[in-house]
Amino acid sequence: MSTFDPKIIAFCCDQSGYPAADMAGTLKQKLPKNVEIVRVPCAGRIETIYLLKALEKGADGVLVFACFEENCQFLRGNLRAKGRLSYAHRMLEKIGLEKERIEICHLATNSGAKLAETLRRKSEQLKKMGPNPGKI
């Protein structure tokens, strides 16, 4: 268990998550090693299937970094993303996987520290939960 380094896919939207990730770098915040950053123009681009496939194909957790509600530059992308996460949560619950493996975090372009903290917290949480039993 001590060598288990959870693999986290972090979807970062161009208007909030991705600049925040850049800022986390500028602030020299330490991120967990096994994080893959995926850049999307809007959280609305994130299909539900990506969330499930991420877990199916080897990730232990998924974080979606999106703008605060009412702040989406494309008006409703982050809200649609929330709906898709709740679909994924319902499926995870029914198949016996922890729904905490998929989470959405709302932030803004200047939230470099928040992004880094969220990733570190998720990594710790996933370490306790253990590797994703559904990964093929």
Binding site: E47, T48, I49, L52, K53, L55, E56, Y87, M91, K94, I95, G96, L97, P133, G134, K135, I136
Partner: protein, 223 residues
């Protein structure tokens, strides 16, 4: 259109318990529109099934296919090659689609992945409501276009029951009383006289669903 809802995945997993390789077949028509069994849903369900079975150590191989429809013989037979490779088929088409596959693949287990719920209308995106129960003898002309079979809980044909209150149904409190809607509508069309015409009782056992398996034959169309 036909509206359906996906069955809970734990129920589906029970059906698939004895099998290790299945085809998950969707449908590009009604179930795509009501977001229950189109290509997108097929992908999501397949992923969920694989992970659920991985977790219990009993790998399940899921092939995915979404023909344009599942209720024509040609569409069903198109999938023959793929179906030969699997042990069972999970179909997220409506009940018609499932049974079309059954008729053409009599030796293959075919399971339903959705509950076919009703014939319905889209009220707004993501909200669908029942409008028709395929009674076989449409009375909509006499009721201003509002169906008393599907929208009245008691399927009354000649006016509301005593429980209609403030335009709402006594059986389902949130539902509008169908006969209130019919009255309002006929009034708006200046056709209230139609309400005075008695609609005879439906002959369920003769011209409707209680008459046994219904069939339409068009001799002029038959090849």
């Amino acid at each position: 259109m036909i509206k359906a809802e996906q069955k809970p995945i734990d129920e589906i997993l029970k059906y698939l318990d004895p099998y290790n390789k299945i085809l998950l077949s969707g449908c590009g028509a009604c179930v795509t529109v009501c977001q229950a069994g189109g290509e997108k849903e097929v992908g999501l369900l397949a992923s969920g099934l694989r992970m659920a079975r991985q977790k219990i150590g009993k790998k399940l191989e899921v092939l995915e296919a979404t023909p344009a429809r599942q209720c024509e013989p040609e569409f069903a037979l198109e999938m023959s090659e793929t179906i030969e490779k699997v042990e069972a088929v999970l179909s997220v088409a409506c009940g018609v689609g499932v049974q079309t596959l059954v008729r053409h693949f009599p030796k293959m287990p075919i399971f339903p992945g959705v509950n076919t719920t009703f014939l319905g209308e889209t009220i707004t995106h993501g909200v669908w409501e029942e409008r028709c129960q395929a009674c076989g003898n449409c009375v909509l002309e006499k009721t201003g276009g509002i169906c008393p079979i599907s929208r009245c809980a008691k399927q009354l044909l000649n006016g509301p029951c005593g429980g209609s209150s403030k335009g709402k149904c006594e059986i389902k409190k949130e539902a509008d009383c169908a006969w209130q809607l019919i009255y309002d509508r006929l009034k708006a069309l200046n056709q209230l006289y139609k309400m005075e015409e008695v609609i005879p009782a439906k002959r369920w056992g003769v011209e409707s669903r209680d008459s046994g398996l219904r069939r339409i034959v068009r001799e002029d169309l038959k090849v």
